[in-house]
Symmetry: C2
Subunit: 337 residues, 2 copies
Amino acid sequence: MVTIQDVAKAAGVSPMTVSHVINDHPHVKNETRERVLRAIAELDYRVNVAARNLRTGRTGTIGLAVAEIDRPYYGQLAAAIITAAERRGLKVAIEQTGASREGELDALALSRNRLYDGLILSTVGLGPADTELLKVDHPVVILGERIFDGPVDHVAMPNVEGARAATAHLIERGCRRVVLIDGGVRGDEVDVSSLRYTGYREALDAAGLAFDPALVAPIDAFTMESGAAAARRVADSGLDFDGIFCVTDTVAIGALRGLADRGVAVPGRVKVIGFDNIAEGAYSVPSLSTIDPDHTLMADTAVDLLARRLTEKGKKNRQVAQEFISRFSVVARESTG
Amino acid sequence: MVTIQDVAKAAGVSPMTVSHVINDHPHVKNETRERVLRAIAELDYRVNVAARNLRTGRTGTIGLAVAEIDRPYYGQLAAAIITAAERRGLKVAIEQTGASREGELDALALSRNRLYDGLILSTVGLGPADTELLKVDHPVVILGERIFDGPVDHVAMPNVEGARAATAHLIERGCRRVVLIDGGVRGDEVDVSSLRYTGYREALDAAGLAFDPALVAPIDAFTMESGAAAARRVADSGLDFDGIFCVTDTVAIGALRGLADRGVAVPGRVKVIGFDNIAEGAYSVPSLSTIDPDHTLMADTAVDLLARRLTEKGKKNRQVAQEFISRFSVVARESTG
DNA sequence: GGCGTGATTTGTATCGATAAAAAACTGTAT
DNA sequence: ATACAGTTTTTTATCGATACAAATCACGCC
């Protein structure tokens, strides 16, 4: 295994000089630099990342903890984050939390093990009660709602506003009885379900439509399967409805399928809108109207916040926690045509 | 930062003893072990992974290089691999190659940097000409075709057989003019496109149907977009056809969309089948018939092969390269109903 | 020639863990 | 008491890079 010492010997300089060349330090004579670079090329030298990590205390890798990487939303998010991290010379290791509190805590523990320099954590399971657990000594950026009092950076979607716009879009297109397919649990008012529910209510209010609890179809997971099941349930119930707002696109694609199972025409008899703007929505039949929260911007911002923390020297001049809420736009496609 | 020395001092033993406890070495008296464990818990000690890596030369992380993690197929593959790796105490870092030869070579280089103990490489861009480049000193498992002469483990799909079965399925259901939407380049006979093309031809032959080159619609990327475009092109061409076999499910979902754009009824007028069995296919409208190559088995096998190499001592008793071809089954859904 | 200043280069001492080997126990048999 | 085999613990020497500080060099100027 070629080490920095071997290169130094070959180039006739000290190991430190080689290190300087590798790390682009100033004050290396051009001629020396070239000699070193030539030696590096000749010997096919590669830095031993572990040794560097040990000395510098940094790993050059950040963790990304998501519920399940095989859900389109997280896949697309991960792709955007990997791309953004790459630009800053960071690697991304992916943890799957399974959308559970335990999984999210595990991810936190791993970065505490110094496997990662920092962590981008997409929260689903953690709640305000876990604030204490977030007080770790490495940077964490939360992707999701502002569920913690603690001073943690986070990047959120415009959930209430987006949901309001989605519901309003259905109403504009003539819907009067809009079903909401959404995670059921209320009371705790900071999770995605609740926030989007709030937006839904606001839109109804703004349009002067009465809220009918019967129109809320609760699901326990944001999957195509539960979306389909919920849609079938609603269709079978004999309930009068002409629109559906689904808490996520994945759920909405399931719902489209569930409606197809029951022969309900979309958008003829019922209009459907989702939230997230995953790529698949543009190709479903009918194609899916949705709220686009600008993933790329969110991913960039998350990585940016984390990267900024990584370079923060000491605890002295630490910035206060940042909160960033993405913008959104309504994407109208066939399902609300 | 708590080190192993601190723990040793607290427990009144030497650092080595602590190391033995941490690594479950035998020959540690029970009472000592407990004392050490108590000290570890009290001080909230965590191993410094970088230091361990430096000393042992292992990182505990494997790389997974895929084209793009936001494509359902790769997302689902990654999820399966992460799960399989977890069972063996391995972390997975994901590289995106962008389906290019350069990207794949980059991924190889990274593991050569000793960032990873080994690499699972899903090849698209590398060809037989790159065999030499694969002769690296860390384990590599290729997920994809047997495109290399070199002694590299690989896990492949039953491409020819699966494609044959897919095409045969269409023929059984009454199709006589089956379009193939597939990566265009021929000649090089080891890539996915060519192999599935071969299967397609074999099925036609077996059924006594003539091969019509006009029925082959080439695409340059395995995306929904190109699938949709190809389907629209075929529909617009006035060509007589009653079935489509798409090289992947992602392409097929695009094709379903393209056919919908042109008002072509599926399965009424044209039947469609894909390959991969991605989750989305079960929820499309119509739901997508496909070939299921048993991803889980493939992922397990890939990780297993890699893990086995990781524990191989020295170069002496190295096993010969293994080749594993997954099994498959035909999943009949609405699109060929 | 001597001196100062800034640009280059180099020595030294770690970072924290573990491999390998040696040392210190333990208990048993002689 | 002594030797011996096996168990438990410790000593010593790295793994390969870089932080820090010190040394050396180059060049202009008095």
